[in-house]
Amino acid sequence: MRGGALMAALLVTWGAPGHAAEVPPAALPEAAKVQQPPADAPLRRSYLVPAFEAAAFNIGLFSFHNLITREPFAVISWDTTRGHFDGTHGWTFDVDQFITNQFGHPYHGSLIYNFARSAGIPFWRAGLYNFVASLGWEYFAENEAPAINDQITTTLGGMFLGEVLYRTYRYVIPEGGGRVSPLRRLTGVLISPGASLNDWLLGGEASPGDVDSEPPLSFVLTPGVSLMTRLEDRTGATPKLLLEQGPQVSLAAELTYGALGDPTWSYRHPFSYFDASAGLTFPGVIMGNLYIRGLLLGGQYGGLTSPMKGLWGLFGLYDFGANNIVRVSSVGLGFGTTVQTRLGQEVFLQGSAIVGGLGFAAAGSLGLESLLVRDYHIGPGVEGILEAKLVRRGLGMFRMRAKHWWVSGAYTEPREGFESITYVTFDGRVRVARHLAVGLELPLGLRAYDFGPDDTQSIGAGGARLTLSFMPDDAFGVTGP
């Protein structure tokens, strides 16, 4: 409780000098807006520095595996490398540990990507560094067969996760190499070690020119208590209890960058809008998730005076979830929209609808192998996202979030069956004090999975959480005037 009070006190001063939250854009004089340097303006970049850094990082990791952790996969030879090229030990899909494959590789990619971005490389070109670095790793740094899924998740997952980290870093440490407090500097190092290194190496002089300053942000930190989580096998007529988890601590955070509603913000570059959320529940059955979606290509609708403002286009999607019923992770692209409508003076309706194709997805059970026949599928798939949130600014909000994944088992033997996973969360919050809200969350889940015509099962899950939300502005995710 004491920690909570401390956080609340600190959050009061969120709108620190230099951030958009302090002065509403509408209050800025027109001249000041015009005089801001264009986002595409001053460019200094080095293609060579991140290339050396990416090589050094990969080779350094390779050396770490050989010298310190003594990983068997790192013992390479001319024969193993030749086998990767001549096809005797060629490209395949691997089923390494879930966290390694679905979080470790994207995070590895995000580090490489941040080397490139912070050296001034634009979004898409920075992704090439991921691709080449991952290719080099698969060919030369492992004696195992190169994995197609690793190549996909390191490249695309690394770009999406990396761009979120880079833009968050740039919010904390602005471009230009100016003086910042030690706390900010430390936070910057934790968010993006690569960008921190390059800011030092290149004196803060490198800029990709596509990260606008002072983005409209919405941030909510939500610690809470998970009262219960229950999983049932609903394959038969009578549900069978699989797991009943008692009270747990839950921590969650949501960040919306380029939040809708700010009439001065434009969405000219990939990830000028993104939505990222993360959560962790412990102890006992540990559950964690990280969901990212960012606008890659598209446009905005709704003018300066329109009550409706929205975005549409192609979104980059990266999901990692080890939630109530299963583990699921995917990297893909989706087409959809996100919108905010003003219904009254302080009443807003926000919504998102996205349908995506997943180049690579993995889904399986949450350590219930002993109870189930088989525990995962990996393959291509589709994803749907549907969200609606009704907000009364300064008072509270009610929200429904639904995600659905359908993952085929096409990438591993036997190449049949599927996973169909649905999460729905109902979430209500009411403001009780300045920057503070209490709420109740009801997560529901359903997993239907199939390993052949006669082997279809389903698991249902439900839970309840009490939450305490800290917000910098009592706006419940609404930005703008």
């Binding site: 600190l10 000098p17 190499g177 910042v180 407090s181 706390l183 934790l190």
Partner: protein, 136 residues
């Protein structure tokens, strides 16, 4: 991710000092080029260390080969030394990459000036276009 976002949140309490514009009389920041020798030194040190690890493990592998042990045991010991050699080679290559970074920093030049202009020339009975430009 969560701890990072938590830190980012708490930063709201930290007054942000905007980047300082260059001011007359202030101490100029160290240039990129001035840091290059330090980075090159680190790179050289890593290269030297990695090479040493490689050489020592190489010698050890030779010594292990003559141990009075079963061939299987000798093979296991040789693999361990070979893995150490790989690590040493990798460390040396990391050093070389670091030296490469230092070289790029040493050559970190001001942004090239690139200007192109075109002007129409209208003359009695004719005309033309004059192009002028500056390239690095």
């Amino acid at each position: 991710m969560l701890p990072l976002l938590l830190c980012a949140t708490l930063l709201g309490a930290t007054p942000a000092t905007p980047p300082e514009p260059p001011a007359d009389g202030s101490t100029p920041r160290a240039s990129v080029r001035s840091r290059a020798p330090l980075v090159a030194g680190i790179g050289a040190g890593l290269t030297l260390s990695g090479t040493l690890v490689w050489l020592v493990a190489n010698v050890q592998e030779g010594a292990v080969a003559s141990l009075p042990a079963s061939p299987a045991e000798v093979q296991v010991e040789r693999w361990k030394r070979q893995q150490t050699q790989l690590g040493g080679i990798g460390l040396a290559l990391v050093g070389l990459c670091t030296v490469g970074i230092a070289a790029a920093m040493w050559n970190w030049a001001p942004p090239p000036v690139k200007t192109v202009s075109a002007a129409p020339l209208l003359l009695p009975g004719g005309g033309g276009v004059a192009l002028s430009g500056t390239w690095p």
